[in-house]
Symmetry: C2
Subunit: 243 residues, 2 copies
């Protein structure tokens, strides 16, 4: 049997948010590759080899997965959320650039419920109109790019979803993000902090920009900033369709 590579999204945590397409791919796999906590979500079974690896080795992990698929294995690279949103799909295609032979492999990307959509659903509909998604980690891009993008996004009046808002090693970045938002947006702007949505550690908090504090976010938090029309109704927050 010839090998294949699937890059699959496991959704935000709850197994009821994993698509049947992904469940089926995992059931047919011989090898699971990914960051330790995501591989830990896959139940062990005879004939399935788990290959957990640490954070920040995405390219090595991608090459390993491609190599195994080239050897005839059926490999699933697992990401949390959606694999195409700040996750493993781009790393796999990056690894393919230098490897024309691997480009002939059977490779599929299977979408998943990305964190911002799970968080938005829990809060109401804060991404109900035009919005953007920004990775606030400056591991792979200069801070100046983040700042420019934030200001333009605010000026465009996008609702915004922030991934990786605040790392333990560099918490000052998110402090600066709130400062920039306060320069560009009114103090009443709605911000939702959604931590570990769909897991037992889930915690949801919606405040105004004036009330927002950096400590409300950590690396497991999705931050959603409304647009200028985003408002509360009952216990929810939503963005009207006409904005």
């Amino acid at each position: 049997m010839s090998g294949w590579l699937v890059i699959a999204g496991l959704g935000p945590g709850d197994e009821a948010l994993v698509t049947p397409e992904v469940t089926n791919a995992v059931a047919e796999a011989t090898d699971i590759v990914g960051y330790i906590p995501y591989v830990a979500r896959i139940p062990a079974r005879p004939g399935l080899v788990l290959h957990p690896s640490d954070n920040r080795v995405e390219l090595d992990r991608a090459r390993h997965a491609l190599q195994m698929a080239a050897e005839g294995r059926r490999v699933v690279v697992v990401s949390s959320g959606d694999p195409g949103v700040f996750a493993m799909a781009s790393a796999v295609f990056e690894a393919l650039e230098d490897a024309p032979l691997w480009q002939e492999l059977d490779i599929r990307v299977l979408p998943g419920i990305t964190a911002m959509l799970a968080a938005a659903a829990r809060a109401g509909a804060p991404l109900g109109h035009d919005f953007c998604a920004i990775n606030l980690s400056d591991n792979l891009k200069p801070w100046a790019v983040i700042e420019t993008r934030l200001r333009l996004a605010a000026q465009a009046d996008f609702a915004m979803a922030f991934y990786n808002p605040r790392s333990a090693s560099r918490p000052e970045g998110f402090t600066r993000v709130l400062e920039i938002l306060r320069e560009e947006c009114a103090p009443e702007r709605m911000i939702t902090f959604a931590r570990a949505v769909s897991t037992p550690e889930e915690r949801l908090q919606t405040v105004t920009l004036a009330e927002a504090r950096p400590e409300m976010a950590d690396m497991r938090t999705m931050v959603i900033v409304g647009n200028s029309a985003t408002r509360r109704v009952g216990r929810w927050v939503y963005t009207p369709r006409r904005a």
Copy 2:
């Protein structure tokens, strides 16, 4: 038994992309409410009442669903894709604004695979770095807002996903969108036209901005514009993580 309202995303079309959470809600429902083609995706069964309605009556539909939940029915409002992305969730919360009693109801939003993520997965990973989602329909917002948002998004170097790019009644809007992109971006910019992804009518085409023509899109097409670093590798298109 007391009533409830679930606003659920059915994903882009393939049943293998419907989450178990949504499947379970539909199985428990007494009533399904939604736009005709989405309700048509729900199999009939004894005890389940289907309430299909036409396009552009979202608020009436939302009120009807809330009314039934208030009467003790178990109601699922179905959207294609994700209900929080240019779909029914915002309309339901809008309907709640004038109805404080309905705000006490058991209401949940269940996320789904939105069209841009299904399309991106099929194409590779064109949304692999910071990106935005814009509804190009000008039913509910002035054209000037769309134009300003587009220019700022291009200047921020977001990858962009366009929903509802080109209606049969006003096809000239998308012609203008391509003109604006040509003013703001280089002619080599990658654009993917992804029609009816995950259905039998799926068709995928990636071209440069110079090659793009308005007729490549219709209302069933998701248009994904890469950022300045988006490129081809093999038969895929992807956006690198460092951009």
